[in-house]
């Protein structure tokens, strides 16, 4: 055997043995217990402190408010949405107090009008809606009800009503096209507003022979748009000009 072979063999053996020994002693204890990771990491992540106690914990002491809230429009709004993280308060109720936001700036975080919000979500324009009055003077946050049933559909359908104000249909009331029972304002999903059912409805203003203002655009209802319904092409809340 050439002299080189045993010399190199010894050198490589030392390297390999060194690697194996180091590996044995350095791999963390719980590594590979469950998967290709340190099982102890899961335990330490699971042991992190929580800041939010969860609304069930709140209900243990504040049961009356919890019950009131659960029966209201805010039933889905957990306590800590407004009062902030409460784990510390839950552990030391006397030492740690939670804030109760009363200023006007808070409620609009959710209820300020924003076109990107889903229409139907109650929204107001803070500048115009009872300026300077704290929200709580009219609305109880644990059981929010409008002091009177809103007159304007825009209270919930803000985006549509705003769009309508910049459209040619600005002068039309919502109820011109949507026959709506009062009950819709109280249980909106159970009692739905009505909608026009045929072309004839739009024709009452837009047909050639319609008895309406002279500057309203006219079409021949018999030939225009074939057998489509009007709203399959035109958006009635913002009808195009061209």
């Amino acid at each position: 055997m050439p002299q080189q072979v045993p010399r190199l063999a010894v050198l490589f053996a030392v390297l390999v043995v060194g690697f194996v020994v180091a590996r044995e002693s350095l791999v963390p204890d719980t590594f590979g217990d469950v998967g290709h990771y340190r099982a102890a990491a899961v335990t330490s992540i699971a042991a992190r402190e929580k800041s939010y106690a969860g609304h069930r914990e709140c209900a243990d002491c504040h049961d009356e408010i919890a019950e009131q809230r659960l029966a209201s429009h805010h039933s889905g709004v957990a306590c800590e949405v407004c009062h902030g993280p409460g784990a510390a308060h839950s552990e030391y109720p006397d030492e740690v107090e939670l804030p109760a936001p009363r200023e006007r700036g808070f409620c609009p975080l959710c209820h300020r009008y924003d076109p990107s919000r889903p229409t139907g979500f109650p929204q107001i324009e803070p500048v115009a809606h009872n300026p300077l009055e704290p929200c709580m003077s009219c609305h109880d946050p644990h059981a929010p009800e409008p002091p009177e049933v809103p007159e304007e559909c825009g209270a919930c359908h803000g985006q549509i009503s705003r769009l309508k104000t910049v459209s040619h249909h600005v002068t039309l009331d919502c109820t011109t096209c949507h026959a709506t029972e009062e009950q819709h304002k109280i249980t909106p999903r159970l009692v739905r507003p009505g909608k026009p059912v045929d072309r004839g409805f739009c024709g009452t203003c837009h047909d050639e022979d319609a008895d309406s203002q002279a500057d309203i655009p006219r079409i021949d209802l018999a030939t225009h748009g074939e057998d489509y319904q009007c709203w399959q092409c035109h958006y009635p809340h913002y009808p195009e000009t061209g």
Partner: protein, 391 residues
């Protein structure tokens, strides 16, 4: 910044140091593949650069992991990659590919190549140098004909293993990027192949540069047959490399997937200088034309005959431009892939820092370091033909 980027994309995570890593390993793989040419395919002309190419590869390989280490959040935990490598991870194999290439390929090949000289140097020298050279022989001082033949055979076999290993080393780096499906700029099956050929280009250019420059520096004549051959190889490798890159480009353009819009904004915006100007025009087209004209790549004496002195300078200039071009490739891949949002809706910017572990200063130190190591290696293991020991 323009358009929309995900909030977490505000910070770029792979900076200048991660650009250095593929650049340096590319030089290693390229230099080694060049050395292998002489050994396996018996290209006699480039023999003067054989040992130089090996030492260059070693010097750069020793530095290659440093930028990676420096960029880690926890460099001291890097050993974990050996302890618990995740077999599904492209990056986990880094340690093993590196260790394999360093110990089994490069060090062994250099050892077998130099053993005879080490023994002879150790016999004729005095003082610490004698002991250093003796230690490096590992005590294997047998210079019988049989032993020397074994050296030669072993070296040959290691080279044969070494070529696919060099392909692996750098193709693998390409795979680390090419396999990231979340990133349309990186995700390409051609990435490892493009990396490989650009590595060969950069390695040949580096050895050409060091050989010509060192000869001038040492006031020794440049073997123009060798330099010409290197230049011709450089030309061929660049043709393949550039074709592959164009193929990748045309393929993307033709497929026009959803990312095409943001990628074309990327090329016309933040990458214009580094991609179009530096990589394509200065780093590829100019040297390609120059080499095509003066080197013997296209006709035996060059398309246009030039005096050796001028040719040397042109080669030096081309090698420098190619290095700039290849560095730009690495920059464009690594940073380019992070300059657009994965929402495909916006671009962000990279501002290199001057100081700090990820800064320009650090990067220049890491680029300069291999040259220092090479200088030391050349002191200990002179690669020049005239330094080879005779009995």
């Amino acid at each position: 910044m323009q358009g929309y980027i995900y909030p977490n994309e505000f910070e770029l995570h792979w900076g200048l140091l991660v650009v250095l890593y593929p650049y340096i390993t590319g030089l290693v793989a390229g230099a080694f593949i060049l050395a292998s040419l002489e050994r396996v395919f018996n290209v006699k002309e480039v023999q003067p650069t054989y040992r130089l190419a090996l030492l260059t590869a070693l010097a750069f390989l020793l530095v290659a992991p440093l930028p990676l280490l420096a960029h880690l959040g926890h460099p001291l935990r890097s050993y974990e990659i050996f302890l618990t490598p995740n077999r599904k991870s492209a990056m986990a194999m880094f340690g093993f590919v590196y260790a394999w290439y360093l110990t089994v390929v490069l060090l062994l090949e250099i050892w077998f190549e130099y053993r005879k000289d080490l023994v002879l140097w150790a016999r004729s020298e005095r003082g610490p140098k004698k002991w250093l050279h003796y230690a490096l022989t590992l005590g294997a001082t047998d210079l019988s004909e049989e032993a020397l033949r074994f050296d030669d055979n072993a070296g040959r076999w290691i080279t044969i293993i070494g070529i696919p290993s060099a392909f692996l080393l750098h193709g693998y780096v390409g795979f680390i990027f090419g396999s990231v499906k979340a990133n349309p700029w990186w995700s390409s099956v051609l990435m490892p192949v493009v990396f490989l050929f650009s590595a060969i280009v950069s390695g040949i250019a580096l050895v050409l540069f060091i050989y010509v420059a060192a000869s001038l520096f040492r006031s020794k004549p440049v073997d123009m047959r060798c330099a010409d051959k290197l230049a011709a190889f450089l030309f061929y490798a660049m043709i393949v490399d550039f074709s592959l890159e164009m193929l990748d480009f045309i393929h993307r353009l033709y497929e026009s997937e959803e990312s095409i819009e943001i990628l074309s904004q990327l090329i016309q915006g933040p990458l214009f200088i580094s991609l179009i100007v530096l990589q394509v025009v200065l780093g590829t087209l100019v040297p390609l034309i120059a080499l095509g004209v003066v080197s013997p790549a296209l006709s035996d004496r060059g398309v246009s005959r030039t005096p050796a002195e001028l040719r040397r300078l042109i080669y030096l200039a081309c090698a420098t431009l190619v290095q700039i071009g290849i560095f730009s490739i690495r920059w464009n891949v690594v940073l380019g892939g992070q300059l657009f949002s994965k929402s495909l809706r916006g671009l962000t910017v990279y501002k290199p820092l001057l100081f700090g572990t990820e800064g320009l200063l650090m990067a220049s130190v890491l680029l300069f370091l291999p040259l220092v190591i090479l200088w030391l290696l050349v002191k200990v293991l002179p690669p020049w033909l005239d330094a080879e020991a005779t009995e």
